[in-house]
């Protein structure tokens, strides 16, 4: 079985990438293949990269408060492209009261500040569906 492939992505204009880079390093140390998009990605760019790289997981990070708009936009495109097998996670400064709406849009789990990276690794291992 191939390694789990993860796209770590920064949608929107937010420049805070400490968290996403730490998580990328932790996922790599846990044996996954990680591709990082870099900053300022539109939902269209993220979904296109995810298709091209044939990833199993997309990990979205936003600390600017734009998650309420951008996470559902990414999910809309994922559904349009029929990428139902891709596990999508969200992280960043995200108030708990926003989480139900994000989950309803299809985000599998949301990880807030202070989350242990092992928890994210375990979640991905339990829920990702690697192909091949």
């Amino acid at each position: 079985m191939r390694k789990i492939r993860v796209l770590a992505a920064k949608p929107g204009l937010d420049g805070h990438d400490r968290g996403v880079k730490v998580i990328a390093a932790a996922l790599r140390d846990a044996g996954m293949e990680v591709i990082y998009t870099g900053l300022r990605q539109t939902p269209e760019q993220i979904v296109a990269t995810a298709m091209q790289e044939d990833v199993d997981v997309i990990a979205l990070s936003i600390l600017s408060g734009a998650h309420d708009y951008l996470f559902p936009e990414v999910m809309k495109l994922i559904k349009q492209k029929g990428m139902d097998n891709v596990l999508v996670l969200g992280g960043g400064v995200i108030p708990e009261e926003d989480i139900p709406a994000l989950k309803a849009a299809g985000i599998a789990e949301v990880f807030g500040p202070g989350t242990n990276t092992h928890k994210i690794v375990d979640f991905i291992k339990a829920n990702a569906k690697p192909r091949g």
């Binding site: 929107g12 204009l13 937010d14 420049g15 805070h16 990438d17 400490r18 880079k21 730490v22 990328a24 390093a25 932790a26 990680v34 990082y36 870099g38 900053l39 300022r40 539109t42 600017s64 408060g65 734009a66 309420d68 708009y69 951008l70 936009e73 400064v93 108030p95 708990e96 009261e97 807030g112 500040p113 202070g114 242990n116 990276t117 092992h118």
Partner: protein, 551 residues
């Protein structure tokens, strides 16, 4: 008589003269129990080593502070970073903060503004008004400072890539209030290098960005002489995960790159040097932080004097703003953050900061509520008015541990500076991804230390409790974008389009021909050319920065 005794006498005479004009806050300073407090405490027999490494407050190498009387003369500026949603809502918050006793404004702009997109741009979707106020044109700026007299307040603006344009808007608003640019006091962050390495709101590639920055230095030296033309920022480097040593080293390396760029453009170091200012983080390692500010002061003074040949003491001084560490705040048990912030703020005061922002307890969750902001401001007021640490200059000097840390941070920062020099300076080191990788590695090491319980974060990996989700967080109405877009449509239909077109055409020519862009920014904003239109024109000439992948 030793030379230090002479120096001390001259220093005392200078203070006596100064006090006749600007007396200290009190005639006599004493502890709560009545013990008298001297202005400054010195070793019993200060030798040459003391004179070289520490000196006297307000004198080279400024280890003990940039002013001779420090907070006995005046407390630091209590400056709370604020801004969200529309200009009208932010204006309300500023006026509230001024009523509550803040002494300076600090404007937070939203991300589209910081990256040079108007509120109605496609890439602004979801971001308008979220992390700061949305400013697309002079119209918004007029509302933002409505009824705030710009000759009375000093205003700091966290704006980098489009800093010159926002400064031009500020000058234009002041003109309408009848206040000339020579009276304006404040700061633009204008520090693009740390945007590439740590904060992410760059627009143009490094070389043209450095040129615009030197344009601003040159223009302000003539026209806006009291303005701090740059705030060379370690804050975001630290937030991105660096150590204290890296914070000092990478900040000063960036500072050296700006000085060199300006000198290469033909400016005299002491023409722009006095208006350089700095911005540091106040993290949780209390004593290391105190030492960090002292080390940064000493090292920069040496660099300006010995390397760049400055002869004006004002160019050698690190005057700095401090903000408590946002990254140290926890979403868990958020009230604990009040205590973290208080310790961090105290370290900045013991380190001799010129102005201070204290973070609010709820910032790991959302933008701060008014209640949280008020507690944060009160924290500074308690330090300033109740604790007594303000009554003598540099009170921790001479403690073995503090002096050891000060020396050690300086030494290790110098090692980094030597490495960056070998790479050709900060611009090259950033282009090669070196600075980014160093910061990233430090961030990951810290995270692993927390996860392995080598480092305790109260409420996160120890003393954890189950708690209900927080309520009453500040929300920005998503309708802000539609409102701003509608206002922009109206502005575009009402303004003199011919004037806008010709101002933009002149700007383009100036950008292509290496002219100073500041006068052109002013001509553009005065006729209500939008920020997005100005930055769009510059994008056409300069191109956009493509970040190297460093992981």
């Amino acid at each position: 008589m030793s030379s230090f005794v002479e120096q001390l006498q001259a220093w005392q005479a200078g203070i006596d003269k100064m006090l006749a004009k600007h007396p200290e806050r009190k005639k006599q300073f004493a502890t709560i129990s009545g013990l008298p407090i001297d202005r400054v405490y010195l070793p019993e027999d200060p030798g040459q080593e003391y004179a070289d490494k520490q000196g006297l407050p307000g004198e080279y190498p400024y280890t003990r502070g940039v002013q001779p009387t420090m907070y006995r003369g005046r407390l630091w500026t209590m400056r709370q970073y604020a801004g969200f949603a529309t200009a009208a809502e932010s204006n309300q918050r500023y006026r509230y903060l001024l009523e509550q006793g803040t002494t300076g404004l600090s404007v937070a702009f939203d991300l589209p503004t910081q990256i040079g997109y108007d509120a109605d741009h496609n890439l602004a979707r979801g971001e308008v008004g979220k992390v700061g106020v949305s400013i697309s044109s002079l119209k918004d700026m007029e509302v933002l400072f409505d009824q705030i007299p710009l000759d009375k307040v000093s205003t700091s603006m966290t704006i980098n890539a489009p800093a010159g344009i926002l400064l031009a808007m500020y000058i234009a608003v002041a003109e309408k209030q009848g206040v000339g640019p020579e009276k304006l006091r404040g700061t633009i962050q204008n520090d693009i290098l740390k945007e590439y390495s740590s904060r992410g709101t760059y627009i143009f590639p490094p070389r043209p960005s450095m040129r615009v920055i030197t344009n601003i230095f040159a223009y302000c030296a003539q026209e806006v002489p009291l303005w701090n033309t740059i705030s060379i920022s370690g804050y975001h480097i630290r937030e991105a995960g660096s150590t204290a040593v890296q914070e000092v080293a990478f900040t000063l390396a960036n500072g050296m790159a700006y000085v060199k760029a300006a000198m290469d453009a033909g400016l005299d170091v002491d023409e722009f040097g006095p208006r350089l200012s700095f911005f540091f983080n106040a993290h949780s390692e209390f004593l290391e932080e105190v030492a960090k500010y002292r080390a940064a002061r000493r090292l920069w003074a040496k660099i300006m004097k010995e390397r760049f040949g400055s002869t004006n003491p004002k160019s050698m001084m690190v005057r700095f703003h401090t903000q408590t560490a946002g990254c140290s705040l926890t979403a868990q048990q958020p009230k604990n953050n009040i205590v973290r912030v208080a310790f961090q703020a105290m370290s900045a005061v013991l380190g001799g900061t010129q102005s201070l922002h204290t973070n609010s307890m709820d910032e790991a969750l959302s933008l701060p509520t008014q209640e949280a902001v008020t507690v944060a401001l009160r924290t500074q007021q308690i330090i300033g008015y109740e604790t007594g640490v303000t009554e003598t200059v540099d009170p921790l000097a001479g403690a073995y541990y503090i002096e050891h840390l000060t020396d050690e941070i300086e030494r290790q920062a110098e090692e980094y500076l030597a490495r960056i020099d070998e790479m050709g300076g900060a611009v090259s080191a950033i282009e090669q991804g070196y600075v980014q990788r160093e910061i990233q590695e430090a961030a990951y090491d810290y995270q692993k230390a927390v996860e392995d319980n080598q480092r305790v974060v109260v409420g996160v990996n120890k003393f954890v409790v189950k708690e209900p989700p927080p309520t009453g967080l500040l929300r920005v109405d998503p309708k802000v974008r539609e409102e701003q877009a509608a206002a922009l449509a109206q502005l575009r239909s009402e303004r003199d389009q011919k004037a806008v077109d010709s101002a933009l055409a002149e700007l383009k020519t100036a950008a292509e021909n290496d002219q100073n862009l500041m006068p052109h920014f002013l001509s553009c904003v005065r006729v209500y050319t939008t920020l997005g239109e100005i930055c769009g024109t510059l994008r056409g000439v300069f191109g956009e920065y493509q970040a190297p992948t460093t992981i």
